[in-house]
Point group: C2
Chain length 144, copies 2
């Protein structure tokens, strides 16, 4: 697994050919993040919401949980699938996943925003193709 | 990507050495599922809840959304991370992810239960190691 410095985000994303695939799952490991931000449930909810909007996604619901003695999970249910973040402030680490299915979402923008917002000094980003039947990625959904 | 028939579930899981890793992300593609089940929001909420419990996980929150003309997303926020399911009944397809971090959860049992509950005739299951700092997987969390 390759680990990048924060300032490598743009080049690593631009070079990743898999981003053109229409159903993808991004797994993002964020290291050396800011402790306070990783332990701030309200901040993380806002950050996840903003990341989703930057990615051109529609947030339908957003839930979170604060753990003791530290740590937060926040998950956004999107019209286009979901984004989650799980944080371990004591290790300055957070694990993000962004699952998108559709032709309009730009998860790379959400990834970049999360890396920068959490002051992550090192990260790894993996883009994994999901494998729906061909017709799935052409379908647009309507919210009830 | 290997696609298995439903009755291959036990052998494929037992042969996967990566399941011993303590922080893993399972990506499960379920094909040829039952249309009615994939479009039944209430059924899917119950199924996700049951899958989490079989995996020895603690469900802290569970949200879902019904799409029009069909399709459901359900996501369970777990003490141990999350499980999500996104369904496209018109294609008899659903995409599941199970992210676990900790030493006590058994996501393979959740996977098997979901495959069987949705009458999936074919599936693919990928186990991807997440890469937290070493101390993260030893930590147990307490719910506020």
């Amino acid at each position: 697994m390759e680990v990048y410095k924060n300032n490598q985000i743009l080049s690593s994303l631009n070079n990743d050919q898999e981003l053109s695939h229409q159903s993808k799952h991004i797994l993002l490991e964020l290291y050396k993040c800011d402790y306070e931000k990783l332990n701030d449930e309200s901040f993380l909810r806002c950050t996840l919401n903003r990341a989703a909007k930057l990615a051109n996604a529609t947030v339908l619901n957003l839930i979170s949980n604060k753990f003791e003695p530290q740590g937060v999970t926040a998950i956004a249910l999107l019209s286009e699938s979901h984004i989650s973040i799980h944080t371990w402030p004591e290790s300055n680490y957070s694990a993000v996943d962004i699952f998108t299915c559709g032709q309009n979402m730009m998860p790379e923008l959400a990834s970049q925003y999360l890396i920068e917002s959490l002051n992550s000094e090192e990260y790894s980003l993996r883009v994994i193709d999901r494998n729906p039947p061909a017709e799935v990625i052409k379908q647009m959904r309507t919210v009830v």
